[in-house]
């Protein structure tokens, strides 16, 4: 059974259909990649699934439950986390605090309990420990006390992944995690993604780095101008004429390359 089931998802901006009747499934424990030329609707698709943008039509089912149109924070709490194409970190805070804020989901502390500080210490210690563990898992433990804004680009992307992990997700949607990374940083990222998958988190990755996509993805979904044009394992996608056409342009397809 699929953990995440997307059916007929559609989003229009004025006359433009950014996401056009897209359906696909994500199976538990797998890594799925979403690729497509710029403006194909990949980020919009992520926003629709994660509640950051309301769909005009279609449905998203997560673990058998309908989550279409729910508020973003609620979707995260139900176990579907995400990162952003342009990182949305808490820049003034340390890396540890960034992750800790997400780990706070496990701490039961409303305004009244917090004001009186009744029985919070154990839970807080635990969430700090959890945050440290995730920084290690992401391979950025040495930046724990660094301000997010002071961190190198590559480690910032890893920090956002660690923060998403702190919400204890079952599925994680990563929007261009390798954008702007150099070769070594991409290698670190790939290792981290495998560790995360092995820890039991299902991954959906929007990515332009084809090397990364072909290496890690078990299945690839290809979007072009908002619509799904292909879906399948990497080897088949590489040979798919519709995909080659979308990437290389129609002129090239005319001459048969």
């Amino acid at each position: 059974m699929s953990l995440l089931a997307v059916r007929g998802l559609t989003r229009r901006f004025g006359g433009l259909t950014a996401v056009d009747d897209v359906s696909f499934d994500v199976h538990e424990g797998s890594i799925k990649a979403v690729i497509g030329p710029n403006g194909a609707g990949k980020s919009t698709l992520f926003n629709l699934i994660t509640g950051f943008d309301p769909p005009d039509a279609g449905s998203v089912r997560f673990d058998g439950r309908e989550i279409t149109g729910q508020r973003a924070d609620r979707i995260v709490r139900s176990g579907l986390a995400r990162t952003f194409q342009n990182t949305e970190l808490f820049e003034e805070l340390s890396a540890l605090e960034n992750v800790r804020i997400a780990a706070d989901l496990g701490v039961r502390a409303g305004f009244v309990r917090s004001a009186l500080r009744v029985g919070l210490t154990a839970g807080e210690r635990e969430s700090v420990e959890q945050a440290r563990r995730l920084l290690r898992l992401a391979g950025i433990a040495e930046f724990a006390q660094a301000r997010a804004s002071d961190m190198p680009h590559g480690t910032r992307r890893l920090l956002e992944i660690a923060r998403a992990l702190a919400t204890t997700p079952r599925v994680m949607l990563l929007d261009e995690p390798a954008a702007g990374l150099n070769g070594a940083e991409t290698r670190t990222l790939i290792d981290a993604l495998y560790r995360i998958r092995d820890a039991g988190v299902t991954l959906v990755v929007v990515e332009h780095d084809m090397g990364l996509v072909m290496e890690i993805a078990e299945e690839i979904l290809v979007l072009d101008r908002g619509a799904k044009i292909a879906e399948g394992p990497p080897l088949l996608i590489q040979k798919d004429t519709a995909v080659i056409e979308a990437y290389l342009g129609e002129e090239c397809a005319d001459v048969g390359c």
């Binding site: 808490f90 009186l116 919400t167």
Partner: protein, 332 residues
Amino acid sequence: MIRTRLAFSPYVAIAIAAAAVAAVPVLSPDRYLLKVLVYVGVNVIVIAGLALLFGHAGQISMGHAAFVGIGAYTSAYCVGHVGLPWLVGALAGTALAAAGGLVLALPALRLRGHYLAMATLGFNEIMYVAFREARGITGGGDGLGGISYPEVAGLSIDSPVGVYLLVWGVALVVLLLVANILRSRPGRAMRALHATENGALACGIDTVGLKIRTFALSAGLAGLAGALYAHSVGFISPGTFGLDQSVIYVAIVVVGGAGSLAGPVLAAIALTLLPYADALIPGLGKDAVALLQDWEADIYGIAMIAVVILAPAGIGGLLTRLRIGRAGEAHV
């Protein structure tokens, strides 16, 4: 990495402050000084609430003076007209102001920055007109006089020292509770919301609920301050709760520094004392005091501009640089 852990526990800071508060009437039981310090204590309570809402959660309110007014008039009416005990009146004032905060939270769910500032500013103007026109309750533009002193367990607190100790006792408790909130989960969620709302949502933070609760709490604290003010001073009029006062509150938080509690509190103390400098410096001439009072708004403005240019993190930022630690930031 070894880090100096100089971060004050709020309990230590509050204990030191309590000792200072207790020392004042012993060292100088001057009536005028105590009266001025009551104003300061009232403002400290308002600023604690606004530092939470604006300084930490990043939600601006240009309408906090209106909440102080709601608390003041509600309490004065409940005690004076209805005949309720002062404690009940003060609680009613706090509750009604908090309810007003809930109303103001609604635009905050949709508006940001300048637009939220405009909406809250409009709220203050509406309430100002209401205070002036609802003569049956508020006494209209002439104000409401003869408000009874606070009364606890049948004992009227009518001495200057008593009123001073009551206001500052409440202020210190409020500061402790607010500091605790800031170093706990809701405080971290506020800083997250301030930094990036999308990031906060991605951490599973219920930003809608957080804004509503923070607005209500912040407005409730302003209402509590109003209730204390009305019964300490005995006279209130709409002019005290106008837009200009709301602007001053915002200026105090800016000068004190976003993301800090100690900074805004120190700024509240300094800037509230400014026009009453003669209470601290007995030898100060009448002309000098008049000059300070005439230029009060200008001094606030200059302080704000200076902070924005020279020390954008405000007094709180300077405290952090001195490694005194930041209220609410748990050093883990």
